[in-house]
Symmetry: C2
Subunit: 211 residues, 2 copies
């Protein structure tokens, strides 16, 4: 969103920016909630501006004006999701923390509702550059929340100093997401556990050492 059309100063800003109070915020909340529900229920291909407007109890003109297209909606939804971050856990050992992380990812992807939303969002990102950026941003913040865990593990000597935290975390998530998006295999607890063990083994071998 935010078209950023810099013409002259007389150009009106994109809607919602000058008077973000009460109504505008309420509309955004209602629309994003409706969008999330729709995605969870019928997936991205069925995301329809008209229906969203109706189920959010909002004029469809508003939805079109502020979000433009289904992809725009998903993009904003991602920004919204990125804002609600949940803190990393601290179990005392790197293995434990990584396991908690993998389990969190697994639980999210496996949950009927959340899983559908993520599937939809990833699908949308494959269709639109802007949306892809939003998705990348979402995961960047998510990963950043967990990097301390790796740093602490390195400090404890569980893995070599200089291990790239992001790289290790990616290694944990990758097998889960690979199954989820590409091969559409079930993401079992077993898979999550193995992802952790594998990533940790590689890390101890110094595979993720920063250059």
């Amino acid at each position: 969103m935010e078209q950023e059309t810099h013409l002259t100063e007389s150009q009106p800003a994109s809607p919602g920016t000058l008077r973000p109070g009460g109504r505008t915020a309420k509309v955004r909340r209602a629309v994003l909630d409706a969008a999330r529900d729709a995605l969870a229920e019928s997936g991205f291909h069925a995301l329809n501006m008209d229906r969203i407007a109706a189920s959010a109890g909002v004029g469809k003109t508003t939805v079109y004006r502020r979000w433009g297209s289904p992809v725009g909606l998903v993009t904003d939804l991602l920004h919204d999701m990125a804002e609600q971050s949940l803190p990393a856990s601290d179990t005392g050992s790197l293995a434990g923390d990584l396991r908690a992380n993998a389990e969190l990812v697994r639980a999210t992807l496996t949950d009927t509702r959340m899983g559908a939303v993520f599937r939809a969002v990833i699908s949308a990102a494959g269709c639109d550059e802007e949306c892809a950026r939003a998705l990348a941003g979402f995961y960047r913040t998510r990963l950043d929340e967990w990097t301390p865990v790796v740093a602490k593990g390195a400090a404890r000597g569980e893995i070599p100093a200089g291990t790239d935290p992001t790289e290790l975390l990616r290694a944990v998530s990758a097998p889960l997401y690979y199954r989820f998006t590409v091969t559409h295999e079930e993401v079992t607890a077993d898979v999550a556990e193995r992802a952790v063990t594998a990533a940790l083994a590689a890390a101890k071998d110094g595979v993720f050492a920063r250059p």
Copy 2:
């Protein structure tokens, strides 16, 4: 595709099955080629039945009748792609073979044309169950082609006997696809190399041992 509506025997089979010769085959070829081009050029969201029909030089009725929807098209395209398999390499060492595999995946995803097709296909699979199955089938055959490589490596003693070949291969691919579909980071040669090293380290630790 193939609705399998078992009513009475008077029910006509889906088009293209009773006279698959000349014309029918030619139409399918033209349409699938057009679809692939369209996906490579503008992605899944822009896949349009009318346009496909036009650029394939085929009546649009035919396209609607035989494929039904963009998703149906992609699904059939996947079946088509699954038929053309390319053999695994044999460099003499497991590390070399896996590197070749990772490099193949990387090259495919990085290639402007092929990358776009895969992105589109994965996106479509996120929208439709049938398409997801086709995609899963595609990767199953792909993986199966490479399993001998792992078996030979195990026979040479490079990794523990009883290592699950598919699991190891998935571990190699996962980081590449994770970047490609989820975080939309560039899939560099470096990433591919690290994926191989990490997977191999884990395999040597017996992480992928079959129970």
